[in-house]
Assembly symmetry: C2
Homo-oligomer: 141 residues x 2
């Protein structure tokens, strides 16, 4: 993405050229942060590869790469809690993706709205939110 | 952080225990996303090690680990554009940090407020913001 550093407002590059040139790590992945588009709440961080990126842009539904399962992870495919893509952006060096999304229900596998519920308060780390839905119900166990 | 998954609202762990148990990568690092605390704007992503985490919490000024320079990076030490820490949280598996901060001026080395200025629009990636300050002025070149 270095070539856009000195671009003026509204100057652009072809999407395909940008996707080709991203600094994927040795596993072909880039971290993606998702944020609820209207409230600004940061929901989660996960990973995308080139295929996940393209599918997400084509369908406007967020698809990650699951490192634990080593396969495409269509967010919500088992929980029903999908992310509709509102806007995708890349940072100055192209090594992080920001996804503005409309998240249905909880983003977190624990049933909480956001994964960032462990908050530092003095010399303790405190759980700052409760599950919206019981995770056992979320995954139909 | 797995042990807090089933914690109720307000239950907590000692901070030192959490910092000891974070899943640092093979370089001892964890990604940290920073967000302007009042507007919700996502500013940048960088990396922290254990020392950077502790310094940030002690001083309430954000300190990262610079992978390119291989040293502590006290955000703003050369540009003057500091980040005051408002809140730090960890995600469900502890492998990402969210920093709510009060960012002075631009967070990005290009002089833009946020690093996420390369926005996908159709089949183009368009620069969606301008520098607040000329980067040559920012770094006194």
């Amino acid at each position: 993405m270095k070539e856009t550093e000195k671009f003026k407002l509204g100057e652009s590059l072809p999407l395909a050229q940008v996707l080709d040139g991203l600094p994927y790590n040795s596993d072909g992945l880039i971290p993606a942060v998702s944020q609820q588009f209207d409230t600004g709440e940061v929901l989660m961080m996960a990973w995308m590869n080139r295929v996940a990126l393209e599918e997400t842009l084509q369908r406007n539904r967020v698809c990650y790469w699951s490192r634990s399962r080593q396969k495409l992870w269509r967010k919500g495919e088992s929980s029903g809690q999908i992310q509709i893509l509102k806007e995708m952006s890349f940072d100055c060096d192209g090594d992080t993706i920001l996804l503005k999304v409309d998240q249905t229900g909880p983003a977190c596998h624990t049933g909480r709205r956001s994964c960032f519920y462990n908050v530092v308060r003095g010399d303790r780390v405190e759980v700052a939110s409760e599950a919206l839905i019981d995770p056992e119900q979320l995954y139909g166990k």
